[in-house]
């Protein structure tokens, strides 16, 4: 295969220079961002090597796997479990539709787990093939940076390989973090939670982020008693406050016990299970305690200090707008940079990196209007600004349109759960600044809405779109009356 050497877009570079390096690019970490950057760079004609730790569902310093967090310990297995758990509610709902289903349903956790593992092994294989089809050389082992243009890969048998590369890309991702409290070793993280031997009957989840609410939903859907502890008044800090309240209400509606403003202080092993002690002095017994208390960048064992790559105080690799570190030949994308920790964002960063470095086209990732989803049951999905952010950022008035409705399916199923949708508009420009939805299919619905927001669609353009009837999504194009107007610098006031 003929390769063009488009390094930094400098086509005139001498052959002698090129011959100097084993690779044009060496990527450390074959997760979403690393694989994307490697493949696209190879497509631009670069000679690319990539290293990744051996495969295992549960990550550690020395195990990982091609595909990374998303495929092996994140998005994919999580979504599979959410699918599995959602059937619990579906089966309940089916009864009022005339279906006669046994009261005592049998759910086989081991079967689900086994099939989930099969699927991620399959995907792991697909990712490996993607790399080899793109002409990327894959090394199994732990990568370290030895110099600005030098990497060392420690293979499984301990042998070390050393390669020179014109560019090095750090894409090692992040790992779940444990809270340092007495008995913390009794707790698990999301890695283990995705691979538990047995389905817990009593689960305690600590954390208010998306991982916490997702696992709470999964276990509850599969029949466990779930207690969710978080520090704030509402879960999902950073999301629209109104939507946070909706999620909290829905989680409770589905039978999850919420403990706002509560921390865990100690875990104690007992014959009965793990005794969980809270800072309010409550005690309860659980089979499983999940710490969903954040993730930390995998930057420790890369030997970054030796070459002088700067980290921030959380351990994230510092990069500029083009994902370049302070060492010109070393770059970083994805969770290890702790910008916006989402798979599609890592993909975007990887793509921009390849374009910038090997595609002859300087390309910055654009972090505006990035949609995202929380796969709680029911899910939340948002794009653009929350109401609070909009008020803070807008120069003029902000209009808020909300719609709270009983989804048609619930009219017969009898499920008491409202879907809530929201549009936040700049009153002056009519631009839609933010959209949120909590309810069935929200993530699927939000993707198309995101295209509109990304391109600066106005409320008038939403209104001029005809609805798809009967759907939940049509509500986004039929919101006629404003719920409230927040005057510039003022407080929210309703005109209802």
């Amino acid at each position: 295969m003929a390769r063009k050497m488009l390094v930094d877009g400098e086509l005139s570079q001498t052959n002698a220079d090129e011959a100097h390096y084993d690779f044009d690019l060496f990527v450390i970490g074959a997760g979403s961002g690393g694989v994307r950057a490697a493949r696209f760079s190879a497509n631009y004609g670069a000679k690319v090597g990539i290293c990744e730790l051996p495969f295992h569902p549960i990550s550690s310093e020395v195990i990982g796997g091609v595909g990374g967090t998303c495929v092996i310990r994140g998005c994919v297995p999580k979504k599979i479990l959410v699918y599995g758990a959602a059937f619990g509610g579906e089966i309940e709902d089916a009864r009022n539709y005339g279906w006669e289903v046994n009261e005592n349903l049998d759910f086989n956790w081991k079967k689900l787990l086994h099939k989930k593992t099969d699927e991620i092994i399959r995907l792991n294989g697909i990712y490996k093939r993607l790399l080899s089809n793109a002409g990327v050389k894959l090394f199994e082992g732990e990568g370290k940076i030895v110099g600005p243009n030098e990497v060392e890969v420690t293979q499984l048998d301990g042998t070390k390989l050393s390669y020179s590369a014109k560019h090095i890309l750090i894409a090692t991702g992040s790992r779940a973090h444990r809270l340092p409290i007495p008995g913390q070793e009794l707790a698990i993280t999301s890695d283990e939670a995705l691979s538990l031997e047995d389905l817990p009957k009593r689960a305690v989840v600590l954390g208010g982020g998306y991982i916490a609410v997702e696992f709470a939903s999964i276990w509850r859907g599969l029949g466990a008693t779930v207690d969710l502890f978080f520090r704030k008044e509402l879960p999902l800090r950073g999301f629209d406050d109104e939507m946070r309240a909706v999620v909290a209400r829905n989680l409770e509606g589905r039978g999850i016990n919420l403990h706002p403003r509560t921390n865990l202080t100690e875990l104690i092993k007992t014959d009965n299970g793990i005794k969980v002690v809270t800072d309010h002095g409550e005690e309860l017994i659980a089979d499983v305690v999940l710490f969903a208390t954040g993730r930390v960048p995998n930057s420790k064992r890369l030997n970054l200090e030796a070459v002088g790559v700067e980290l921030d105080k959380t351990g994230a690799v510092k990069v500029d707008e083009y994902s370049r570190t302070n060492i010109p030949s070393i770059w970083a994308v994805g969770d290890v940079t702790n910008r916006m920790n989402l798979t599609p964002v890592a993909l975007m960063e990887g793509t921009c990196f390849a374009k910038t470095v090997f595609g002859g086209e300087s390309s910055k990732p654009d972090y505006s209007n990035i949609p995202c989803a929380v796969f709680s049951i029911p899910p939340l999905s948002v794009v653009g600004l929350s109401e609070e952010q909009a008020i803070e950022q807008a120069n003029g008035d902000v209009l808020v349109f909300t719609s709270t409705f009983n989804p048609m399916k619930n009219t017969i199923s009898g499920r008491q759960e409202k879907t809530v949708m929201k549009l936040v508009i700049d009153a002056e420009t009519d631009k839609v600044l933010g959209a949120s939805m909590c309810g069935p299919d929200a993530p699927e619905i939000m993707q198309g809405i995101a295209v509109g927001l990304k391109c600066g669609a106005t409320k008038a353009q939403f209104d001029s779109t005809v609805g798809i009837h009967p759907s939940a999504a049509e509500e986004f194009v039929t919101m006629r009356s404003v719920s409230r107007r927040i005057t510039a610098g003022g407080k929210p006031k309703t005109n209802l």
Partner: protein, 601 residues
Amino acid sequence: MRQLPPPQINSTNTCLMGGPHPPAQGSQTSISYIYTKARDGDRKRTNMATTSFTAPKLSSPTLQTLYRNLPVSVPLPKTRSSFSRHLSPSISRFHHHHLHRHRLFSVRAESENGAEPPRHYDFDLFTIGAGSGGVRASRFAAKFGASVAVCELPFSTISSETTGGVGGTCVLRGCVPKKLMVYASKYSHEFDESNGFGWKYDAEPKHDWSTLMANKNAELQRLTGIYKNILNNAGVILIEGRGKIVDPHTVDVDGKLYTARHILISVGGRPFIPEITGSEYAIDSDAALDLPSKPEKVAIVGGGYIALEFAGIFNGLTSEVHIFIRQKKVLRGFDEEIRDFVGEQMSLRGIEFHTEESPQAIVKSADGSLSLKTNKGTVEGFSHIMFATGRRPNTKNLGLESVGVKMNKNGAIEVDEYSRTTVPSIWAVGDVTDRINLTPVALMEGGALAKTLFQNEPTKPDYRAVPSAVFSQPPIGQVGLTEEQAIKEYGDIDVYTANFRPLKATLSGLPDRVFMKLVVCAETNKVLGLHMCGEDSAEIVQGFAVAVKAGLTKADFDATVGVHPTSAEEFVTMRTPTRKIRQKPDSEGKTGLEAKAAAGV
């Protein structure tokens, strides 16, 4: 004050419906409407007149004075209840004593140029048919200050010349009951899926037909009630009965005459069964939505969306389903690849397709079962034979011919871009005009009409990029042009497709797949059409419809970050065209129409 709504809406309405006499709140509602309108400051000169609903016309100078003297400059109260405190005792008394029997008023608006001779009408707008379009037009007209009445046939789940119901096809015999049945029927697929996710059922879940029907009908009753309330709250008078046009300004409802400045025909359409031998044994979609028991083996004649939706419903509710279509493929008019794909997926779920088979006769055998004779042979043993062979506008016996409202050969009312018929005071929206027969389109037409007539804002419905869905299983969502239409209109296009096994299917082990397609103009990069068949299609396409309607480009789609992991993200991550269609010989140095397969993923 041109469009003055009748006071005491609630009471009038309730009386018409035979209910008890309501409390005085109703009058406050209507007063606030008058009030609103007064603030709007209509420039037109208004003559007041009273018209009794049930009694001969009678004028009341007192009332005219009273209404004219309403305190126009007082700020509008925020709520109706607060307004009640502002009501002067005289107004309350007035309502109580004087309006007790003759409570209906309307006003005549006189054009400023004086072209029309002054004439009194009972209503500014009289709507025949309280379905989606009629209710929307009536409500909005009332909101804009018009006095509005709407007539509708009595409620029944089966429509006929004498039965209908407030809510219309969508609520009673279409979208809503259909979707409820789709929900019910989807569970069997979900039970199958759940097996792959570790769920096990001791016994195969059984479906009890009567539970579903009872719950469905309870919901329809609730909805028809809600629709009545919506009309009521908007100040629209509802008259139960069959409306017929007598002259350009008069409607006859079961012998009573009502005059109106404008008449709106929104009577919708009804299923049509072609006359073949034994067609009396066939059922239509109305009946299919309200069968007393589960059809064991059902033949569905037709390849349109109604046929496919019912095939999915009955199949999911464990009936044996056969579809008979005249053509090779289902869903004429849809994108060809979608047509192929949905047919395949439905076959995989157990529906049997009989293509290029036209029904010729239905024979009932001694055991009560039905046989369908077609041009290719006879299939026996059906418990039900359903015809989904199109719908016809409900334009018979409306008096249209006599007043000169022109219809096309299918019986659809011909209207201009503003939904006006050949008679200037008569308008028509919704399925009766057979434009795009979708609820949201009827809503759009009704909304536009109300604006045109009563808000001084001539508004044309915009039929570009109207999205729609087929709630087959799997469902279809689409917006914009099909590939075939795009080639015809634009010549050079790029087509992006994705055909994949969704994450859920990899676990469930079922053969479900998803197909997605973007049709992009090669010259402008605009997304001309977007099509999807697979789970959640209807929900997914809505947001993209905003983008397509707004004329966004493929580059705009590509600039959008995906929501991971979803099916929908595929629409923003299609990088390589599946084929480039080029009409001009010189483009890309190739000749003629060419389809180029994409290299790799």
